[in-house]
Structure formats: C-alpha cells, structure tokens
C-alpha cells in the first residue's frame, strides 16, 4: 500500500501538497522554538542579551538595550563623588520625547528643559557615589539614541530598541 499516493475516493487527496504542508509545519515548529530561545536570551528584552552598560568618565549607566512598548524598566545612573553639594544630569531630547518617566529616585531638586533635552539637579554627597534610578516606559517604537551627560563630564551615549 503506497501511503504517499493520492486517493480519489472517498475524499480527493493531494499528497504532494500534504507533504509540503508537513514540511512547512516542521519549519514553523523550529521558528516557534527559535522565538522562545531568543526570548530566553533577552533579545526581546529583560535577559542577558538585553543588559546594557555605558560608561563615560565619572558616569555609568545600566539599562535594557531591548525594550517593549509600555513595559516599565529602570535606567540606573551611577556617578562618582561630586565636587559640590549638587550634581546635574542632562538627558538628551530623544529620552525625554520617547520615554514617559514614571518615577525618579531620588527626586530631583530642580529640573529644567531646553532644546538639547532635560536637565535634572540632585543633592549629592561629596564623599560617596550617587545612584539615580529613573523608571520609564516607552510609548515609541523603534530605535532611540540617548545621551546622558553629568555636570562637566563627558557624555555617555547608548541606544535602546523598543519593540511594539
């Protein structure tokens, strides 16, 4: 009995098409597994492939390289001890435009905005590193190039890709 031959009774079969369907089905399974593995690796956010770190002079930033729209995630800015009692962090315009800030810890003393972004001023201790955590979620899909500049320091640049 040739199982791969098409029968015409009681139903009209097309085993050539059926075999192709099975091949597409198998390929589809591999795609689904690949998506799950990619998800574990963090390509779709929140995993090893997504953990980003940028450093420039006294400033270092930890962030998620891959984000998903509306998902809340932290941007952690660590700054070396400041010379004065205040420290300033300037965030470029794309960060302000593409992300909605849910909370800033600690709360800034002052904030101001200009064409080159938002400037946040925090109280600082001269003898200790300062950590500022901004919880934000993106409402914008695609790539955002962000620059964070501490007062008087070199800017740290990084990018975040936001999935829909």
């Amino acid at each position: 009995m040739d199982e791969l031959a098409s029968r015409r009774y009681p139903v009209r079969e097309d085993m050539r098409f059926q075999r192709r369907s099975w091949m597409v089905e198998r390929a589809g399974w591999f795609v689904l597994i690949a998506i799950a593995v990619a998800g574990l690796s963090g390509i779709f956010g929140n995993g090893p492939a997504s953990w980003g770190h940028a450093t420039a002079g006294p400033l270092s930033v930890s962030y998620q390289r891959f984000e998903r729209a509306t998902r809340l995630s932290p941007f952690v800015f660590t700054m070396a001890p400041a010379s004065g009692r205040e420290l300033t962090l300037r965030l470029s315009a794309p960060f302000q435009r593409d992300f909605e800030f849910t909370s800033i810890q600690p709360p800034p003393l002052r904030s101001s905005t200009g064409p080159d972004g938002i400037e946040l001023t925090f109280a600082a201790r001269a003898d200790a590193t300062s950590q500022i955590v901004i919880w934000a979620h993106s409402r914008h899909y695609g790539l955002s190039s962000i620059t964070a500049t501490p007062n008087g320091g070199a800017p740290a640049s990084f990018w975040v890709f936001v999935y829909p």
């Binding site: 199982e3 009681p10 139903v11 079969e13 085993m15 089905e25 589809g28 399974w29 689904l32």
Partner: protein, 160 residues
Amino acid sequence: MDSVIKATVVYFTLWAIIRVSGRRTLGEMTAFDFVLFMIISGSTQRAITGQDYSLTNALLLVATFVALDIGLSIVELKSSLMRRILNAMPMILVENGSLMSDRMRRARITEDNVLASARRLNGLERIDQIKFAILEASGEITIVPAEQAGPAEPMEATSR
C-alpha cells in the same frame, strides 16, 4: 490607525501559529488545549487593546477582524490553492481496515485517536471494522464502517 495594524498583525500571526501547530490541536481539543487557547486569547487581547478601552477602539478591532475573516473566506472561494493553504485537506488514515501508519505519524494521530472516534461515532471496537477513517480539514476524524461490520458484540455478563 495602529489598532487596525495591530489587529491585522495579530490575526495573521495567530492564523500562522494555529496552522503550523497542526490539525490535531484543533480537532481533538483536550481540557488543557482549551485552557491554552484561553491564555492565548487573554495575552493577545491585552496587546491589541493596550490601554485604549474606548468603544471606538473595540468597534474598530471587531470590524477589522470580521473584515479580514470575510476577506479570507472570499479568497478561499475563488482559489482552490488558497483553500488548501488556509484550511488544509482531508486525508485518509485507515483504508479497508489497514492503518496508514506513516500518514498517522506525520499527522501526529495515534491508533487510539482513531479508535476513540470509531467508538464515539459508530460504536465500533476494532480497526478491521473500519472501512475508512478520514482526518477532516477541521481536524476531526470521521469514520466509514466496513460493510460487514454489524453492531458491536454485547459484552459477556460476568458473575461475581
């Protein structure tokens, strides 16, 4: 605009995933499969609606889904190739009492699945009582009994 795009992407992605998962999943739905489908619908519903719970958005989504469904049914009517791609084809699993094991293995159907359908639909007990078992495009297994197959033999009474 994005509601229509999201609905279209979700419609075709879900269709592709369900199609790739094979007919077995749809036709022979177990209690766990049902739970799985509930989870799938819950996950996609949140992604489609987002934080927009307005009536306009709901109507827009429903209109898009129904329009896509009507569109595909028209495409199916016009093209036999599309009908096969969208809905799969019926396939014989048992022919004159013989299991077509290679087909069954590829379609992920076991002898038990065929026998369960034979018992449920026709009261048959053995494969040799089946003339044809057909895996329909819907995923169900239909049974054509062999001509000589009479009613199932009554079970012997057992004394205790």
